[in-house]
Amino acid sequence: MHRHVANPAEDTGSATIALIGNPNVGKSVVFGYLTGHYVIVSNYPGTTVEIARGRLAWEHYRALRGQNRYQRSARQRPNRGRRGAHHGRTLRRSHAFRRRHAAWEVIDTPGINNFIPTSEDELVTRNILMNQTPARILQVADAKNLRRGLLLSLQLAEMGLPYTLCLNMTDEAQDRGITIDALALSEELGVPVVETIATQKVGLDEARRRVLDTKSRPKEVPIPYPEPIKKATEELIPLLPEMPISRKSLALMLLSGDATLTAWMGTTFDEAHGEVIRSIIERIRRAFARSVSVEITQARMRAAAQLLERVVQQRETRLISLTQWLGRATTHPVGGFAFVAAVLTGMYYFVGVFGAGTLVDWLEEGLFGSYIIPGLSWVVETIFPWQLLRDLLIGEFGLLSMALSYSIAIVLPIVGTFFIAFGLLEDSGYLPRLSVMMNRLFKAMGLNGKAVLPMVLGLGCDTMATMTTRILDNRKERLVVTLLLALGVPCSAQLGVILGMLQGISIGAAAIWLGVVASVIFIVGYLAAKAIPGQSSDFLLEMPPLRKPVIGNIVIKTMARLEWYLREAVPLFFLGTFLLFVIDRLHLLVSIESATAPVVQSFLGLPVEATAAFIMGFLRRDYGAAGLFLLARNGQLDTIQILVSLVVITLFMPCIANLFMIIKEHGLRVALGMSAFILPFAILVGGAVNWSLRLLNGVVP
């Protein structure tokens, strides 16, 4: 009698809800609502595209169960009186219920504009639909940009996949005088349409309920494809195998010349069969001067526009809101740069002064220096009698004393504050505008404005930034930016020490340091973009409206990123420290010092002690700088020497954690190649600065 709650075969197993939609429509917010905090971010196999997965949060099951009980009690009123007697069974039932539903998985796919893949993101999303066949699809669309959302809806309908349409940001649409008749739209599309304001959780309950309920196929909206394409589609359909998506949609994908399907075709069809299909595709390709995919997309766009006319009313509003005005101002040719300066200054104070200063002092000297490390030392010394093990854990280069305190007490507060600042910028919609402002400069280098984002992140931590080069469109740009990060972008820890040293000398010296580093970044970026084969990607960027960031979302995002940092970067700090420990044990440091003395002393004009600082710099970027700081404070370096050593340490090898990250992202060969360039190059530039300054001064102090 209590078997009827749900049909296990339908609602359990690998049941997946896929979230699909254009970029910047609030998918992640909906995702956060559905999953709570248990999120796994992982790469889609064989790509750099990240997919977030999570289990449907428990509270939704509770809501579901409540709903079921309500339905049951309505139907089984006579049994109600006996419920108390069955208390035990109800409990058990709830466990069973939980077990059955715990299998719902939610996938947040990357934002896309079309299912005809032109980017890795679009390919991944298309493949998820084609191969994994999620049981439920929730399309999130921006209500004020419905035309672009409908382009996706029409394709989902064509694929014959059941989906629920969530019209998000209805508040913004209303502000802009856009009214959507959701009922009529639902009628036209044959799918549930839910109006939501995700950031305020308005309508999300309803969206969740509808998406779990909907299994019926959507209506197919007629699309005015050109005659030859229609005919070829009909010819192709009987030749294609049964797939999770409709054969019609598959035929259109093939006709659109989707090169990513070639491999699939090779394994699916035998020679003769494949030849027939290819000849049809070829015939259509020849019939159109423009690409067939363009014809198809334009026909879909026309259908979307017609649909839009029937369900949307647009009142002309000429009123420009404050955020719109601000949005314009942030990309103003002149005013925009004032914003850039203000944002960078704000970040400097929050991340550099508050994070790297106040918080680090408090954590490193206070919490770690006075309590945690002494405590751990005491524990280690009490438990372990072996000196080697004690050194390994709490010695000068100990895993606890150095790696732990470094990664938690120094880097964590810096990247933590950085992530908060970055999250604010991201959520406010400012980042694309920053890219616009910097596009010219990066374009001159042969990159595009998007590259500015990892470079800014590099000022926080180069290791993290190397990981985020994934946001760039192609391998070439990822390689160039990774190189520039490794070469010339000082991380916040190092930057702090460098600024400390520059402060001691003069504004002029600081300007020389900045000028040398900036021009090196520019020149190397320019040459690398020339040398590395591949096209630089188009700068075609959507600028979402500026918004007031929602604190809750930033908290969730920052927590997810910190978890990422702890999981991926911290182990590298431990590995690096361990290597340092080994080098120290084997007394390699002294031999390296004497071997490199000629270069350091004669060419760079630095005292031999500087070598140790450089080697340390490889293991921990700021450690190297700190070594130089000490030398300078003890009066062992003159102004020129300080400048030269700062230039060298800034350009010097990336820290070991960063190097491991480069290996992880691009492979050992690339990492070694970059190191082989950076090491001599940094010394060369240092030497050039040394000799030109000495020639200009005409004296050797």
Partner: protein, 220 residues
């Protein structure tokens, strides 16, 4: 041989040259209006005799006379198609078909007027170059052509997208998916440091190179 058919074959050879495949064996005449049945290879030889083409080792090349004639046909065809599509909003397939007929009877004078009317476009709706007419025409710039590039609009101007001529298809697909497709109205907000346009409620930043490939009809 009918002059219509000669025109069609010259046109086909021209396009084959543009595609870098001027081989006699792979030629295929697309417009077959009013030409009846014919044997292409025989026609090619006939045209060689007439001093329009040179056939050598499977390659088809023009004589000077043949090139001049082909160039004029292509110019008429492509200008006609631009006129039909941009100004008269005729669909691509229909305009292609009609242009196939226009190319045979547009006089030189009318062709030049069409070119001037359109603001001396450099490419046809498919992105193929339109041969120029009289020498020096390249430097003529109308005060306000009916159709112009997005890059020639001034900030704050509103225009309707006429057509796109992206140098590669992916760019085209991306633009269309962002909502920049023929027929929509856009506002140009900014030219530096990047072009910023607004289509509906979507604001897009793009490089000058991309903006240069978007042709619009100014509305203000």
């Amino acid at each position: 041989m009918k002059s219509h058919l000669i025109d069609e074959i010259l046109e086909t050879v021209w396009v084959a040259h543009e595609d870098g495949r001027p081989e006699a064996a792979t030629l295929e005449v697309k417009c077959r209006h009013d030409v009846g049945e014919f044997d292409l290879q025989a026609c090619l030889q006939e045209m060689e005799v007439a001093g329009l083409l040179v056939l050598k080792e499977g390659r088809v090349d023009f004589t000077d006379e043949g090139r001049t004639r082909a160039r004029n046909i292509i110019r008429r065809h492509r200008l006609a198609q631009r006129l039909l599509m941009d100004v008269l909003d005729v669909s691509e397939i229909e305009s292609e078909e009609m242009a196939c007929q226009f190319e045979h009877f547009l006089s030189e004078e009318v062709t030049d007027k069409v070119a001037a009317f359109l603001g001396y476009p450099r490419v046809d709706p498919n992105g193929r170059p339109i041969p120029s007419g009289a020498p020096g025409e390249e430097t003529i710039e109308l005060v306000k052509p009916l159709i112009t590039r997005l890059t020639r609009l001034s900030v704050g101007e509103r225009a309707r997208v006429a057509f796109l001529t992206p140098s590669f298809h992916q760019r085209f697909d991306r633009l269309v998916a962002f909502g920049i497709n023929p027929g929509v109205v856009l506002d140009l907000h900014q030219r530096t440091p990047a072009y910023v346009v607004r289509v509906g409620e979507t604001e897009l930043a793009l490089d000058p190179e991309i903006a240069d490939e978007i042709y619009v009809r100014p509305l203000t």
